[in-house]
């Protein structure tokens, strides 16, 4: 395999809830993330010694960064990947942030045969109900999707469910699981080929760290 001068590796990481466990995992895999632990408002962190660059981004933007090559790799939830439909390589399940992408409706409501669906994931919802032969009108919301059935804006919602507490508090129940969600390591296809060795080594180290975690738990 040809080695090139361009052996910097840029990884886009999702800001927010998923970041601390991601850093823990990267460190367990022997990747120095100390630059990322500093309290700053910076969004790009460079580790000159290991030729590694980290970019912090909004989760929904990560597939775009990786698709256009602004980052070689990204760590992002499967929910975002399902919605964004980019042609990225999905290299590894990082088993972080486990939850479900589900259909939920009002407690006691009849089964959903079609109608209005409120969601942050319009493409996933459309595709899912289309495959089931159900006609539906998808309403895109940006947050507090649970409100929609209560305000009669929608019959059901498609949203992430982890413990189900938010649903229960809003008198909603989980009806169907569309997909099980965890964070994934994704790669830009060009980077995957050209920086093959480095990326393969990283995947290997992460797999070992994951296996170690499983043994512990």
């Amino acid at each position: 395999m040809k080695m090139t001068a361009n052996e910097w590796l840029t990884i886009a990481l999702a800001k927010g809830r998923i970041l601390p466990p991601t850093l823990d995992l990267l460190e367990a895999a022997g990747i120095d993330c100390s630059v990322l632990r500093e309290k700053t408002r910076k969004l790009i962190f460079s580790d000159n010694r290991n030729k590694m660059r980290f970019v912090l981004a909004k989760p929904t933007d990560i597939p775009t960064y990786v698709e256009y090559g602004a980052a070689d790799l990204g760590v992002v939830g499967k929910d975002v990947l399902l919605e964004e439909e980019k042609e990225l390589y999905e290299l590894l399940d990082l088993k972080l942030g486990a939850c479900r992408l589900s259909v939920a409706g009002k407690k006691g409501g009849g089964s959903f045969t079609g109608g209005y669906v409120a969601t942050k994931y319009p493409r996933v919802a459309k595709r899912y109900f289309q495959q089931q032969g159900k006609q539906c009108e998808v309403i895109k919301l940006h947050g507090s999707v649970e409100l929609a059935p209560l305000l009669k804006l929608a019959d059901v919602i498609v949203d992430l469910v982890s413990t189900g507490r938010t649903l229960a508090e809003n008198n909603l129940v989980e009806r169907e699981i569309i997909a099980r969600i965890t964070a994934r390591l994704v790669a830009n296809p060009g980077s995957y080929q050209v920086k093959g060795k480095r990326i393969a080594a990283l995947v290997e180290a992460l797999s070992r760290a994951l296996a170690g975690k499983e043994v512990q738990s």
């Binding site: 042609e87 999905e90 050209v194």
Partner: protein
């Protein structure tokens, strides 16, 4: 919307190329065709639309759903060329059936697909490619790959890799472990997307032996140089796929003769989702660009759709992608220098004569369309981005170098 603005819109997925991009694209295309010629490939041109029947044979469902279709005056279905390999196979079967083999043909032009699923979702893309027809040797396979390497090197592209696989490797492995066609198709689809997470889940879900599962999940690791052959042989049950791997290894050896092996990475999990490939397949990538710059492979059973069966191998370069990457790597030729020839009273004849002389020497030259004072001519020259101004009057001539000379095409 304002009616005039409405008229300025163009459909989704197509675009205008402005100076200098249009010129750079044409030059890139010409450079590639020159290299093809030097390797003995002869250019052919095929119609932009043909009968749908010529295309549907050998076309994968995904492509079939993505072609532009319309009707002629007799109600026959026509398609706008979605691919060049099929028309080239038709041309070879029609016009070169009895020509000595191997036959080397090349082409360049536009192809059209709905939602090509590519960057910016372009529906019109420009391709250049070759087909080597009537020969099934490792030499032919390697020639095509080495030619791709030469094109990338000549274009100035940095940081590229050609990954090389063989469609028969996964087929052999999956068949050896008793996977049916449907299961094999599912696995191959996941390999084509390199969705290794879903692959792992699929393998777990399938009722196959643990050993089979382990072997399949080992395939993504079969990447690298010549050392991959030994690992690949180990993964296949004894006696299976021996000829296929030996053939691929021969291709590698010829690539070494070409000195092209350092640009090639073996990737035995490489699957290209066009139905017609039967042997080696390859794709070209550069870092940070998410789409193949080129792709190709061997298709030994496509010609049977048009006439006597013939082995063939070929590849196509996506010129739009290559251009985008070269632009990003700043490898495209800069704007050409331009002279502006202006004149005052009595100077027109001299200006025109000088312009003709300069053009004959290969210098780009623009002649003013009206008499102007020198200061006015200076402004016009700057507006054009000219780097030299020549000014003529009945009394004599004046020459001035202009700063910048940057023609930004705006």
């Amino acid at each position: 919307m304002n009616e005039k603005l409405q008229r300025l819109l163009i459909p989704e997925g197509v675009r205008d190329l402005l100076p200098d991009t249009a010129r750079q694209k044409r030059k890139l295309g010409a450079l590639i065709q020159d290299i093809f010629s030097r390797w003995g490939y002869r250019e052919v041109s095929t119609p932009a639309f043909e009968y749908s029947d010529s295309f549907t044979a050998g076309m994968k469902a995904e492509l079939r759903d993505n072609v532009f279709r319309f009707f002629d005056e007799y109600g026959k279905t026509l398609v706008l060329r979605p691919d060049y390999t099929l028309p080239l196979a038709r041309v070879a079967a029609m016009h070169f059936a009895n020509a000595p083999k191997p036959l080397r043909l090349c082409y360049g032009g536009e192809i059209f697909r709905y939602n090509a699923g590519e960057q910016g979702k372009q529906r019109e893309t420009t391709q250049a490619g070759v087909e080597l027809i009537g020969d099934d040797s490792a030499c032919s396979d390697a020639e095509i790959i080495a030619l791709a390497v030469e094109v990338f090197l000549a274009s100035g592209l940095e940081d590229f890799v050609l990954c090389l696989g063989h469609i028969g490797f996964l087929d052999t492995l999956l068949a050896a472990h008793g996977l049916g066609p449907d299961e094999a198709a599912r696995i191959k689809l996941l390999f084509s997307k390199k969705d290794f997470v879903a692959l792992q889940e699929e393998v777990k879900r399938m009722k196959i032996s643990e050993e089979a599962g382990r072997s399949i999940l080992q395939v993504p690791h079969l990447r690298g140089g010549a050392e991959v052959f030994a690992a690949a042989r180990e993964l296949l049950p004894p006696g299976r796929g021996t000829a296929m791997l030996a053939a691929l290894q021969s291709v590698w050896e010829v690539l070494e003769d070409y000195g092209a092996d350092s640009y090639v990475t073996l990737d035995l999990g490489l699957v290209r989702m066009l139905d017609y490939y039967t042997g080696m397949v390859f794709e070209g990538y550069t870092s940070g660009f998410g789409y193949p710059l080129c792709g190709g492979g061997r298709y030994d059973r496509l010609f049977v759709n048009f006439g006597p069966d013939m082995p063939a191998v070929g590849f196509a370069i996506n010129i739009d992608h290559l251009l985008a990457v070269l632009q990003r790597q700043q490898k495209l030729p800069p704007a050409e220098e331009l002279s502006y020839l202006a004149y005052g009273k009595g100077g027109r004849a001299a200006a025109i004569a000088a312009a003709l002389k300069q053009r004959a020497r290969g210098i780009n030259a623009v002649v003013a369309t009206a008499e102007a004072a020198f200061s006015q001519a200076e402004q016009e020259a700057a507006g054009l981005g000219a780097c030299r101004l020549f000014y003529y009057t009945g009394d004599g001539a004046l020459e001035k170098e202009l700063r910048g000379g940057e023609n930004d095409g705006k």
